[in-house]
Symmetry: C2
Subunit: 505 residues, 2 copies
């Protein structure tokens, strides 16, 4: 699996010390091109950028590139950098699979769900960590309050009120190991209350649905239209039977990208109040809104009926495993009981560091910088698509780290196939549609533009545009999607892992 | 709750900046004495030590002490430091409870389960953290392998083989959020296999038993004698029915303190092999053995039938929430399925830091220093008890962070009462005895000498010896234990929390 250049280096066992660096890098790159891991036409990162990623001298990278240009593996052109040389693509044939098998992993990962991990503020985080550990009392390092550290809950209460309109105080916040842990706890509580099903949106993440199902809750999809999820279907008359909880992404529907219409927000709150229903609000990327004013959290409308779920997975990094629940008083004790008599889940050092990071203003600065960073990517994506694949319509672009690209009807499979040839990990919209949804299928791709590291972004965008200009034209191989391509099994595996396991929020 | 001087400061809202420091400290200390939070006779930390803890100038502390000596709250004697002045203790009476109510929290926490948190190697940890974050590939910060980071699993495989005789490789190690999380995962797996009960030791932690019970497993205690837990009772004939898994502390029985006898080790492994039983080995403090050669892990005898559970909670700090399972191949997939499709539990930064800390030798250095630190405390405890409470016999002293103090028959309740008057949080051995155990009761206390921070240690030891010399003499109030003292409700609450919730391992 190659997700970034840095990984490529590690993965290929690059000898990055001593005199072997240049030779090791040259061999690794040559092998990556030879094996197809780097597809023809892909633009390589600048020597400066790759050198920074690998922590080696820029000249070493430039020398390695020059060697491979000389050998014919790469091409260099003034003004457009270094690319993998064009060679004939393998043609599809069922008679000689071993030869045509495309090697493992994508060249570019455009699946949604991960922020740009190279944008994680390592230096600022370490500084906050040092400050936090310098002032923490000794017993902060012991077994702690099951709600999590009070420093973090206090910082979050202020931040969430200010940035997301959440009505929170340190007492009704519970820290958890990311969204997945929060949803697992809530699933246990709802099942313990005797609930048998959870209403969900027609579009969403199957990994979330499976977490709920693991807790014993059947997921029942609501309808969806241009105003968002049809929350009025929750009305006691005519709505799904036995449902008294609903999981929603009100600020930025995942993956469709639109905010829940005010009428629908009102409808779901009315429903919750009438029958003591519970709304689970997944505010996974509420920080990232570009064009209009921020859409506040639904929780602000009714803190007694909304459980707010937030996470550092999109704003910082999933690897922190830090999320938070803001709980109505009626459910707080049950959630804490599910979590355990002490905080058995969340390491205190990252909690203290995040508290310090928020309190010192570092988190706000990082979010602002990240918002600009992702907005630039979104603008580049929309602009380049308009030129190179004008038949494709980008939607859900006002916020978040992904877009939905609507394709001309009948072209989705050829687009997926073209993307696979470019070694792009990218999903059709259909992958995010609940199996029981009655909403009609749409030809569309979900593209996460937050995922690639900076140096890979322009190459990823080029590859996507190339795939869509080919795919959108309904190329010669239009009949086959990636789903039935034996050659792409490894890529499929990668993408299955992505949706199935690696994106819990 | 006052667990350390540093907390005392925080708790009392000490103004620790500007010109108000001396006044703030003086007021806080006076209030602590007035309220009984600091009991008469308790020795205060040296001004140097308290100043270091609070991060203020030593003279400021010395001045505050001098003020309070002048006011009569404290006494200072050449050579024996500063103590809380002796005043008449409140006498017990049922007619005026508000007056006699002893205020909340212990002066000293001698419950086992937490290491000396002031000994956490903050500086070395931060350095390792910086090195780890400087070299981590970007995608280490993303959603990860459900087993945990490979860097940590690799470092642990080497360390556990070397230090504990565990047969491990990075592939069969799973990182978890401390022992409690590991036990929860294993409980789910065993229940999923259809098990209805789990054999446990006659002595142990009720919080562990309750975790197993929460997973749907009844806990069935084995007998116990001078060779340790009677594992031969696991034999199919005559043993608890329906049991095919057992939870043990073979290296250092908790809390009795002796290693499992070689015959008993052999018996349990034989049992596991005959009927495909599973041994859950809780190696909570295997690093801390003082007198004889280390007792290797049982897992080394039969990696196919032993799940090894290790933790950083004793060797570093519970707040890290880092533990590890070394799994037999037969159960690995089920444990990973229980953990989730991705690592939703454990933050990567602490994992990477611990990997770096182990790989750089920092962990070994810390463990060696901690071993010396705790050994000195144990030696002081044993020596001072021998002089001041010669009727008390310290057992289980060869390893770990706690001892079992055997009391003269019939004196346990008076000892507990005397300890409560000294505001000591300390438990009787009976608190660790399984309700269904047939082992006879013994008058004994379990004393965790690892818990107090360094500056509080000598005061804690003095208070303990004072309590035991009074208690052991069967003082005037010998009839009443802390259990039936309304005055000590807050202390009881604290101790209940300790066993019930704050010590999951």
């Amino acid at each position: 699996m190659v997700k970034s250049w840095a990984t490529l280096g590690v993965d290929l066992h690059l000898e990055l010390t001593g005199t072997g660096v240049r030779k090791g890098l040259t061999n690794a790159l040559r092998e990556a091109v030879r094996s197809g891991r780097l597809a023809p036409g892909i633009r390589l990162p600048s020597s400066r950028s790759l050198a920074a990623d690998l922590g080696i001298a820029r000249n070493t990278v430039a020398d390695a590139y020059a060697d491979l240009v000389a050998e014919g593996w790469l091409t260099a052109r003034q003004g457009s950098g270094t690319s993998v040389a064009q060679r004939p693509m393998p043609t599809r044939s069922v008679t000689s699979p071993p030869h045509r098998r495309v090697p493992s992993g994508p060249a570019y990962d455009l699946m949604p769900g991960s922020p740009d991990l190279s944008f994680f503020p390592r230096t600022a985080w370490l500084k906050a960590s040092r400050r936090a550990l310098a002032t923490a009392p000794h017993d902060a390092l012991g077994y702690g309050d099951p709600r999590g550290r009070v420093e973090l809950r206090t910082a979050l209460a202020g931040y969430l009120a200010r940035a997301r309109g959440v009505r929170a105080n340190p007492e009704n916040i519970v820290i958890c190991s990311g969204f997945a842990h929060g949803l697992m706890l809530l699933g246990q509580v709802l099942r313990g209350r005797g609930l048998k099903s959870l209403a969900v949106e027609s579009y969403g993440l199957d990994v979330h649905w499976r977490l709920a199902e693991r807790a014993g809750l059947r997921t029942v999809p609501l309808g969806f239209d241009e105003l968002g999820t049809r929350t009025e279907e929750l009305a006691p008359s005519g709505g799904p039977a036995g449902v008294s909880a609903v999981l929603l992404t009100p600020a930025h529907q995942f993956p469709m990208g639109l905010p829940l219409h005010p009428d629908r927000r009102a409808a779901v709150v009315d429903w919750a109040r009438r029958g003591d229903g519970l709304i689970l609000e997944d505010d996974y990327d509420g920080e990232f809104r570009y064009d209009r004013k921020p859409v506040g959290a639904l929780q602000g409308l009714d803190p007694d009926h909304v459980v707010y779920l937030g996470t550092a997975s999109k704003s910082l990094a999933p690897g922190l495993r830090l999320g938070w629940l803001v709980l109505p008083p009626s459910i707080a004790a049950e959630v804490l009981a599910a979590k355990g008599g002490s905080d058995w889940s969340c390491g205190v050092l990252d909690q203290l560091t995040l508290a310090e990071f928020i309190a010192s203003g570092g988190y706000d600065r990082h979010v602002r910088a990240a918002r600009l960073h992702y907005r630039r990517r979104r603008d580049a994506l929309v602009a380049q698509l308009a030129v190179q694949a004008p038949a494709v319509r980008a939607t859900g672009i006002a916020a978040g780290l992904h877009v939905v690209l609507r394709l001309p009807p009948g072209t989705e499979r050829s687009a997926l196939r073209a993307a696979a040839w470019q070694r792009l990990a990218v999903h059709s919209l259909d992958r995010y549609r609940h199996a029981e949804s009655t909403v009609g299928r749409t030809d569309a791709l979900v593209v996460g533009y937050g995922t690639p590291p900076d140096h890979a972004w322009s190459g990823a965008l080029d590859a996507l545009c190339a795939a869509l200009s080919l795919g959108g034209a309904g190329g010669a191989d239009g009949a086959g999607g990636v789903e039935d391509f034996e050659e792409f099994e490894d890529l499929k595996d990668f993408m299955d892992r992505g949706v199935g396991g690696s994106f819990p929020g």
